[in-house]
């Protein structure tokens, strides 16, 4: 089974960029959400291996959604992906072994490195199916 990812961002461009990088590396996209409310609904329905979560979003922002996900599953892998490159965002996941922070803009390398670290995959391993089993 491929590792599954739920992509959460109000920007279709951002979602398409993340999707492109992840699919090319062998990950499966469990779903895509455009705000924090949708993200929580889809997190419950899809049980993804990892969530990429934007911060600045309408309805429910990413930090609120992140804290809610943490209440539901303290071990869920969550990557905060935001253009707000600030200490208070980084501190949110500083002592969280299942959380990380990636500032926008990012390269394919940056994204895959962060995702693989959260999922405890080998950094050079492009065979996600093998590593995920």
């Amino acid at each position: 089974m491929s590792q599954t990812v739920l992509i959460v961002d109000d920007s279709r461009l951002a979602r398409a960029t993340i999707r492109k990088y992840l699919v090319a590396a062998g990950f499966a996209i469990a779903g895509e959400a455009g705000n924090g409310r949708e993200a929580l609904e889809m997190f419950d329905q899809l049980s993804p291996n990892l969530v990429t979560l934007d911060i600045t979003m309408p309805e429910i922002d990413g930090l609120t959604a992140f804290r809610e996900i943490r209440k539901r599953d303290p071990n869920a892998a969550v990557l905060l992906v935001t253009s707000l490159d600030q200490k208070f965002i980084a501190e949110e996941v500083e002592n969280d072994p299942h959380g990380a922070f990636l500032p926008k803009p990012f390269s394919s390398y940056d994204l895959l490195k962060a995702v693989r670290a959260l999922l405890q995959l080998e950094p050079s391993d492009t065979s996600v199916e093998a590593a995920g089993e």
Binding site: A14, T17, S83
Partner: protein, 206 residues
């Protein structure tokens, strides 16, 4: 010169908003480092310059405002505006100099000089982030500051030639999370720059 395309499709609007989000997020983050406070941005919006009213931006046409402006040169020429109430600009400068007495009274010249420095920092962080994202080059002109105007007069002062008002504006609110100040970042794109950005995004998505 590319003709102005007012019929952007949803995908293009979304892409330009994300470009604004990346720029505004970095500008707010740079401001946060300067003043030692948590700063965030709202969801960006798009509008066409000829229908943009600065009093709408500030929501009070009689408010005395500060407008910092800077030209972005290079592959995607643009104008950058930072708009805030005068009292909020004073507060930001106070935060930037924590050792100075609160509400330090600046002479008008010193006030404008400090604001020009602020404009340069915010514009560079905004445009550099966009340039990095799109893989293009950006350079900058000197910053200017208008400090003694009301919001209703801003448009005429900044854009006296009404023939050239047809620019796309990507705008985002910025504020500290304690809500002690707020302002607007406005990135004004010519039709050529808009076309260049959309072309680069198409290339990036392959």
């Amino acid at each position: 010169m590319t003709s102005w395309n007012t019929e952007l499709n949803e995908e293009q609007i979304d892409s330009l908003k994300e470009v604004g989000n990346i720029g505004a997020g970095h500008a707010a983050s740079q401001l946060a480092r300067l003043i030692g406070r948590k700063c965030v941005v709202g969801v960006p919006e798009l509008c066409v310059m000829d229908s943009l009213r600065f009093d709408d931006l500030i929501r009070d046409p009689d408010a005395m405002v500060v407008a910092l402006h800077m030209r972005v040169l290079g592959d995607i020429p643009a104008s950058m505006l930072v708009l805030t109430r005068r009292a909020h600009a004073q507060l930001i400068l106070d935060y930037m100099s924590p050792s100075a007495a609160p509400q330090t009274v600046y002479g008008e010249e010193a006030f404008e000089q400090a604001l020009r420095q602020l404009a340069e920092v915010l514009t560079r962080s905004f445009a550099d982030a966009i340039a990095q994202f799109l893989g293009v080059n950006a350079r900058y002109s000197f910053a200017g500051a208008l400090t003694g105007v009301n919001a209703g007069d801003l448009s005429a002062l900044l854009f006296p030639d009404t023939e050239n008002r047809h620019h796309l504006a990507i705008q985002a609110n910025f504020f500290d999370i304690e809500d002690t100040f707020q302002g607007k970042l406005v990135y004004l794109l010519s039709p050529d720059s808009q076309a260049m950005i959309l072309e680069r995004i198409d290339e990036l998505l392959g």
